[in-house]
Amino acid sequence: MSAQLDEEFRDFMHGRWPAMVRLAYALTGDQGHAEDVAQAAFARAYASWPKVKRTENPEAYVRRIVINENRNRFRRQRVAERLTEAPPESGCADTTRQYDERSALIAALQRLGPRQRAVVVLRYWLGLTEAEAAAELNCSVGTVKSQASRALATLRQSAELVDGGFQ
C-alpha cells in the first residue's frame, strides 16, 4: 500500500478511534473488549483501505465492522459468558453518581441480545434513522423497528433503569 494511503488511514484512525472505542464499549460493556473490537475493526478496514476510503462513508463502514466483530465475539463467547441477574463480583464501592448511572445502563444493555443492543446504540445514541440503522445492520427497517421496540420494553423493565428514572 502506498505511503499516501497509509497516511490517510493513520489520520482516519487517529480521528475516529475514540468514537469507535465508545461505540464498542456501548456494545460490549467492557472497555478492554471494546478496545480489542475497535482495533480489530480498524485492522479489517486497513486490509481493504483503498476500497473503504472510496466508500461514501468510511466511518459507517468501520462502524459496521465494529458491530459485526461484537456479534462474532458474542457468538464465540456465548457459552463462556453467562448473563446473570447481578454482577458476579461486587468490586470496589464507587460513590459517584456517574459511575452508578453508567454501570446501570451498561448492565441493562448487556441483558439485550447483540442485535437489539446495536439497534439501541445506533438509533438512540448515534441518532441514526431507522433506514440508516437498517442499512448498517444489513436488515430491514421493519426488523429495526421491532428490535427497537423489544429492546426498549426490556430496558423499561430493567430494575436499574427504573430506579434511575427511565420508565
Binding site: 493513520r10 484512525m13 480498524f42 485492522a43 438512540y124
Partner: protein, 374 residues
C-alpha cells in the same frame, strides 16, 4: 416510545460511553494486523500476524524475547519440508517445531498491498504462536557473494530463518545444537530460489553448509544471540578461517534513570554487538573475517537508546553529540583484536553526531545517525 424516553436514553448513553477514556489509537498495530489479514486473504494461509524482526547482515532490531516467553527447551524437535503440488502460492517451506506446525510464505512482490518494491513475509502456524508474524521488506534476492542470504524472524516460541539462494546452490544442510540435521532444498517462489526453516527461539544453530553439485561451497556459523534468534553473517569457503571467538562488555552505565550495556561478540560469524536498556535490546553484525575500521555498527531505537561501533587501532576517544542531550565522551574498549566504542543516548534523542579522535586530537572518523523518520 416517547420523545422524552428517547432524549433520556440518549443522555444516559452519552454519559455512560462518554465517561470512558480511550487510550491512544494503536495505529501501527492495527496496520500490522490489517496487512496480515490481506496477506491471508491472498495466500489462503491460516494464521494471524504481529510484528516482524528482519534480521539482516547489519541490523537486528529485536534480539531477545521477553522473559515471559519460553526459552528453547534443551530437548526439541524440528522438521522442514518443501512445498507440495497443492501448496498455496508463495509457500517457501513448512514443517514442525516441537510437534507444532509452521509455514513460511512470501507474497508476490508489489502485490497484496505490499507496495512497489516491497514484499510481505509471513511466518504462520501454531509454532509461531497465535498471531504469527508478518513483515514488509524488499523482495528476497540472492546475494552475489553469499550462497544463501538468510533473514531471521521470530514470533511466539519459534524463530524462522528464510532467504534467497544463489543459482549454484543445490541444497543446504543446517546442523542444530542438539544434533538435528535439516536439509533444505531451494524452491522457486515468485521466480526466486528460496529456502526456510524454523527452530525454537534460543535453540542454537551450529552451522549451515551450502552444497553445489560438485561439493561444499561455503559454511556459515551463525551468531546465536543469547536466548534469542540466530543471525547468519559471514560465509567461509573451504579452508577459510574466520575471527577467533571472543566476547566482552564494551560499555555500561545509566542514562535517563535506566541501566544500559553493550557487549561485543567476535567469532566465525564476524563481529556482532548487542545492547541497550532492559527490554529494548538491539544489535548489529558485520560479516567480517578480520578487524574493522571505525564506524557505527548499530543504534537501538529503545528509550533510552544506545549506540555502538568498531574503532580502528589509532582511535583514543569518541565524542557523541546526541540531539537533545549533552555530549558524551567514551574511550574505546578492546575485545580480541578489535577496538569498540559505545555510548548512551538520552530519551527523545532522534539523531546523534559522533567523532573519533586519535591520541593527538585529530579526527580520524565521524558520522551522523538518525532514527528513521527524524
Amino acid at each position: 416510545m416517547s420523545i422524552d424516553d428517547q432524549h433520556d436514553l440518549y443522555e444516559r448513553l452519552d454519559r455512560a460511553v462518554g465517561s470512558i477514556t480511550p487510550p491512544a489509537a494503536p495505529v501501527d498495530r492495527a496496520m500490522r494486523r490489517g496487512r496480515g489479514i490481506r496477506l491471508r486473504r491472498r495466500s489462503a494461509v491460516a494464521a494471524g500476524v504481529a510484528a516482524v524482526v528482519a534480521a539482516g547482515v547489519i541490523a537486528v532490531p529485536a534480539l531477545r524475547h521477553d522473559a515471559s516467553e519460553n526459552p528453547a527447551a534443551p530437548r526439541y524437535t524440528a522438521t522442514v519440508q518443501p512445498p507440495g503440488p497443492h501448496s498455496p502460492p508463495g509457500l517457501i517451506a513448512s514443517g514442525m517445531v516441537n510437534g507444532q506446525r509452521w509455514q513460511m510464505t512470501v507474497s508476490k512482490p508489489g502485490a497484496g498491498g505490499a507496495g512497489p518494491g516491497q514484499q510481505f513475509a509471513l511466518a504462520s502456524g501454531p509454532a509461531f504462536g497465535p498471531d504469527g508474524l508478518s513483515s514488509s521488506s524488499p523482495p528476497l534476492a540472492p546475494d552475489s557473494t553469499d550462497p544463501v542470504s538468510f533473514n531471521a524472524t521470530s514470533s511466539g516460541p519459534s524463530q524462522a530463518q528464510f532467504g534467497a539462494v544463489r543459482a549454484d546452490v543445490s541444497y543446504i544442510r543446517v546442523r542444530l545444537g542438539n544434533g538435528i540435521l535439516l536439509t533444505l532444498h531451494p524452491v522457486k517462489v515468485w521466480g526466486v530460489r528460496e529456502v526456510a526453516f524454523a527452530v525454537p527461539v534460543g535453540a542454537a544453530i551450529t552451522e549451515a553448509t551450502a552444497y553445489s553439485r560438485h561439493g561444499v561451497i561455503a559454511t556459515a556459523i551463525p551468531f546465536n544471540y543469547p536466548g534469542g534468534i540466530a543471525t547468519f553473517n559471514a560465509w567461509l569457503r573451504p579452508g577459510q578461517h574466520g575471527l577467533s571467538r571472543a566476547m566482552g562488555l564494551i560499555g555500561t552505565g545509566r542514562v535517563s534513570g535506566q541501566a544500559w550495556s553493550v557487549t561485543a561478540y567476535l567469532g566465525p560469524w564476524g563481529i556482532c554487538l548487542e545492547g541497550g536498556a532492559p527490554g529494548t535490546n538491539a544489535g548489529g553484525c558485520v560479516p567480517t573475517t578480520s578487524s574493522l575500521g571505525t564506524s557505527l555498527l548499530f543504534r537501538s531505537a529503545g528509550t533510552p537508546g544506545v549506540a555502538g561501533g568498531t574503532a580502528s587501532a589509532s582511535v583514543a576517544r569518541v565524542v557523541a553529540y546526541p540531539s537533545g542531550g549533552a555530549p558524551v565522551q567514551v574511550r574505546p574498549v578492546t575485545v580480541g583484536p578489535q577496538k569498540f566504542f559505545s555510548f548512551p543516548l538520552p530519551d527523545g534523542s532522534k539523531a546523534v553526531r559522533w567523532k573519533a579522535y586519535d591520541s593527538s586530537g585529530n579526527v580520524v572518523a565521524s558520522g551522523t545517525s538518525r532514527l528513521p523518520g527524524s
